[in-house]
């Protein structure tokens, strides 16, 4: 099924698998790249991230750990907007020659206007529209 938002970002990290896994599952390390949270590496655990509201984010997100397969895979339910059902964020780690390949995916929920735009195949124009909108902002 084609999802409205299917964002995947891939990173090649020159560090060990154990270190990268620690960084995404230990609260003291999560706080250093993401947010200070009461994260626990337990399926079903819920936590909230709170920050300053910006365009596109209301300032808080409810997260639930859905899947956990150390040290390769973790999936969160990610409820970051009132305008769409919760999305799914997954972290996939794969050991490569000189480090780790990290793939982060954010799938699922998008506010209705964005969803409709993407459904109708307008993703090609998203960048152009964003430029146009930004240019005339204010």
């Amino acid at each position: 099924m084609l999802r409205p938002i299917d964002l995947t970002i891939e990173r090649h990290i020159r560090a060990s698998l154990a270190t990268v896994w620690d960084c995404i599952t230990r609260p003291d390390l999560i706080a250093r790249w993401f947010f200070a949270t009461d994260f626990k590496p337990i399926v079903g655990h819920r936590f909230t991230i709170v920050g300053e509201a910006v365009a596109g984010w209301r300032g808080w997100t409810n997260v639930e750990v859905l899947e956990l397969s150390p040290p390769h895979r973790m999936v969160w339910s990610f409820d970051c907007t009132d305008a769409a059902p919760p999305g799914r964020v997954s972290f996939r780690l794969e050991e490569v020659d000189d480090g780790v390949r990290l793939r982060l995916s954010h799938e699922g929920g998008a506010p209705a206007p964005t969803r409709q735009l993407l459904d109708e195949g307008w993703s090609v124009y998203l960048g152009q529209l964003a430029d146009l909108a930004r240019h005339r902002a204010g």
Partner: protein
């Protein structure tokens, strides 16, 4: 509120290449129908019709100045559609930059006996 019901109009409006061109020409510059028609290869009536659709979608605003009607771009409906996607991508890119830096720093210092 009312804007939500206009979403369909916004897609219809930007679906047409002539209207996208008109939006670009109205970006930052107020123009009359006459000025927009000149060099477009279209008739005044055709341009007016496109402008009506853009008005209905909330993408342009009209102002009467003497005998002229002047049009300009209003990007608000576009911003509502695009902001969320671009913001989300930017958010994760920034967070992953930090994550990468952190993980590499931890292992680099662990590898060095002096640290």
């Amino acid at each position: 509120m009312a804007r939500v019901s206009l979403v369909g109009d916004v897609f219809g409006a930007i679906a047409d290449p002539t209207r996208r061109l008109l939006l670009e020409r109205l970006d930052g510059k107020e123009q009359s129908v006459g000025a927009l028609t000149a060099g477009s290869g279209l008739t005044t009536a055709a341009i007016s019709l496109h402008l009506q659709l853009l008005l209905k979608a909330g993408l342009v605003r009209r102002r009467v100045a003497g005998r002229h009607r002047l049009y300009r771009l209003d990007p608000t409906p576009l911003r509502e559609i695009t902001d969320w996607t671009t913001a989300l991508t930017g958010f994760w890119e920034e967070r992953l930059d930090e994550l990468q830096e952190l993980a590499e720093k931890i292992d680099a210092s662990a590898d060095r006996p002096d640290d």
